[in-house]
Symmetry: C2
Subunit: 415 residues, 2 copies
């Protein structure tokens, strides 16, 4: 590389997105990039000329290791959709003016579906207007819903956290005794795709019953059948644990979380705030069966718990970052790096690049035959798919009892 590289992060944070950032930085430097800039809050920040020189943040190898262990988007994230090129050329002119001023050769964007839409539009614009900046996407999402890649960095660590936490919750649930039994509903992220919720099955093993039921958002949720299942389980067990996606919907398409919506929770703009899916179901079960119930939302931690990241995930995230720079350096543009699985056991993967036009705005769902016939669990194929992605640990760098992150004093507040 002879000129400079700029990298941004976009969409929901993950435990692995900063490892991709570290990978981009390392390979860009190795390949001779003069400067590696980081956009603050992605393309939205870039439009306000907010960026940093990454060499001021990654000053040595230890910094790079800390960055790999720092959760969420180090550079700040955004959810910003570029207009269609014909709708507003001004935005594009502004972006390219900034990129040219910074002498940018490669633009790397780490993100999910929406971020790939940004890569697609910017690379199209560059080709149309004859500019030389190259645009490469780097996949990232805990949701694992990107097309054409075997899986996405970020998913493995989230799946590992979910498997571990669900297993711990099952221990907690079994040790509490209630005369009429206890039903625990665990709510897991993933509005349309059930990859994360299915990872609850990882809790199951020689030393754990695993969750009793798993409901993905890909299939319609039947409240009556659900209650019948719970009743049957309570005949045999004192503790029943259910994993549900936040996005499960009843057959008419309405979200379960909309069913029990309270009248009290209205925000400043008059928008009803939805109560959680788990909270609704816990109350529904209590009402129908009269047993003790509890609702647990795994919440934000499932995407930001870098303290229990998967080693495979962090390494692959680093690799795709490097592969994105390499692709740009070798002349590619309008592409996304993908992960291809060579084998399950021993697990091996490699990177490749694919046309971003075939990826952007698409959504990969869990195949129907990876869910049991009655739709209440994932199959062995699902578990075989996800198991390699959660292997190995990345020991946090513990300082005074708490994991250390890369942030220098004052930087976080200014983000």
């Amino acid at each position: 590389m002879k000129r400079n590289v700029i990298v941004g992060q976009s969409g929901g944070p993950t435990a692995a997105i900063n490892s991709s950032l570290a990978g981009v930085y390392r390979t860009a430097k190795d390949r001779g990039a003069k400067k590696v800039y980081g956009m603050l809050h992605g393309i939205q920040g870039l439009l306000q000329e907010r960026y940093i020189d990454l060499s001021e943040h990654i000053t040595n190898e230890l910094d790079a290791e800390l960055l790999k262990r720092t959760p969420a988007a180090y550079l700040g994230s955004c959810r910003y959709k570029l207009p269609e090129i014909h709708e507003d050329m001004g935005v594009y002119e502004k972006i390219f003016e900034i990129l040219n001023k910074l002498d940018i050769e490669a633009f790397i964007y780490i993100g999910g579906n929406d971020s790939m839409d940004t890569i697609k539009k910017l690379s199209d614009y560059a080709i149309i207007t004859g500019q030389t900046v190259r645009f490469i996407g780097c996949p990232k999402t805990i949701d694992n819903d990107l097309a054409l890649t075997d899986h996405t960095p970020g998913y493995g660590s989230a799946a590992k956290y979910i498997g571990t936490s669900v297993k711990e919750i099952i221990c907690d649930s079994f040790c509490l005794e209630y005369n009429k039994g206890l039903v625990t509903i665990i709510e897991i992220m993933g509005r349309n795709a059930g990859w994360l919720t299915g990872a609850a099955a990882l809790a199951k093993g020689e030393d754990s019953t695993g969750p009793d039921l798993i409901y993905l958002p890909e299939l319609a949720f039947d409240l009556e059948k659900f209650i019948a299942k719970i009743r049957k389980l309570l005949e045999k067990k004192s503790s029943v644990v259910v994993a549900v996606s936040e996005g499960i919907r009843i057959p008419d398409g309405k979200y379960v979380c909309e069913l029990g919506n309270s009248v009290d929770f209205v925000d400043a703009f008059g928008h009803k705030q939805l109560s959680g899916t788990a909270a609704y179901l816990a109350n529904f079960v209590a009402g129908e069966i009269g047993c003790k119930t509890r609702a647990i939302e795994l919440s934000t931690l499932q995407r930001s718990a870098s303290h229990s990241a998967s080693r495979i995930d962090i390494l692959e995230a680093f690799q795709v970052g490097g592969a994105a720079v390499k692709a740009a350096d070798e002349g590619d543009t309008g592409k996304m790096v993908v992960l291809e699985r060579i084998s399950d056991d021993p697990y091996q993967s490699t990177t490749a690049v694919k046309d971003v036009h075939k990826i952007a705005n698409d959504e990969k769902l869990v195949p129907r035959d990876w869910v049991t016939k009655d739709g209440t669990y994932v199959t062995d194929e699902f578990v075989t798919y996800v198991k390699p992605l959660i292997q190995g640990d990345v020991s946090p760098v513990m300082v005074d009892g708490i994991p250390r992150h890369l942030y220098k004093p004052g930087f976080q507040e200014k983000l």
Copy 2:
């Protein structure tokens, strides 16, 4: 010891309670106990003659190590309050009949305030009726609210989990940009005592701003002052993170979580189910200020996340288990083992035994001068107190990417 030992677990589970169980087993065996029984679901299960021979579960040293890393109460827990001796002698006769049949010399009960009430009553009854069984309490509670002990096993691991998770949530919050700022409210356990909520301050350091505000349940919560603080913070920062105890109350004594109670959530018995404190405050802030907000409950995981336990905590939990058996073997009864801090730096502690009559049903709160004047943060004294308790890690035994626990196939379901 010449006869047998029986041990039970009671009250809320923790990440360290099974380490105490391992300590009881080890010392009992070392001191010559013939059998070490485990009551299933504490005194409640014992009354139904539900118990196991622990040697069938802890068959070797690896099992003991796995037990230390298994969250929640391995033997099952209960919340069962013995009647006063004069109210119902029958219950006591039943218990002693079972204990005598099992040839019990020492009865060890691992638990919190209520469990110490059980030790008090049983030891009183034994003395009154001239029986030789000895009763010793072993402290355990994430709430850290037991009197006469410097701290309680279980607290250190919960504090470490809270510090780590709050720090990760702060990273996540800062990276999301919203025009009007984002206010994140994190709800932490502890209805009356703020030890756990105060541990959120552990997130603060060279690499993290820490939470902006911390509200303990010991002090009345003023909604107006709270909103004023948030407004001021939002002038300078895009992300504001607040840690609140689930038990904070407004000056008239009403719980904050009762203020926004929805009419929809009524359980089978007509009981209103309370929405969370964080959910209420998040909605309140959104309504008053019009900014984006989110509520995160750390939930059950703060007490069952053995994957991020504190080494000091797990070791001390093991020690108090052993010390309880030693005390009984040396003739003590009606006592609880306590931890005494010898020094903060280097941290050193030792065990002692104290009269359980002075501990049972008492509650140790955070001292007023360990909270700042305006009641919105803990002081350095608080942090100095808690820091040593979160030091060191206990690596989980990872099997196929997930932490291994002790449970043998089939045992969990039968609990």
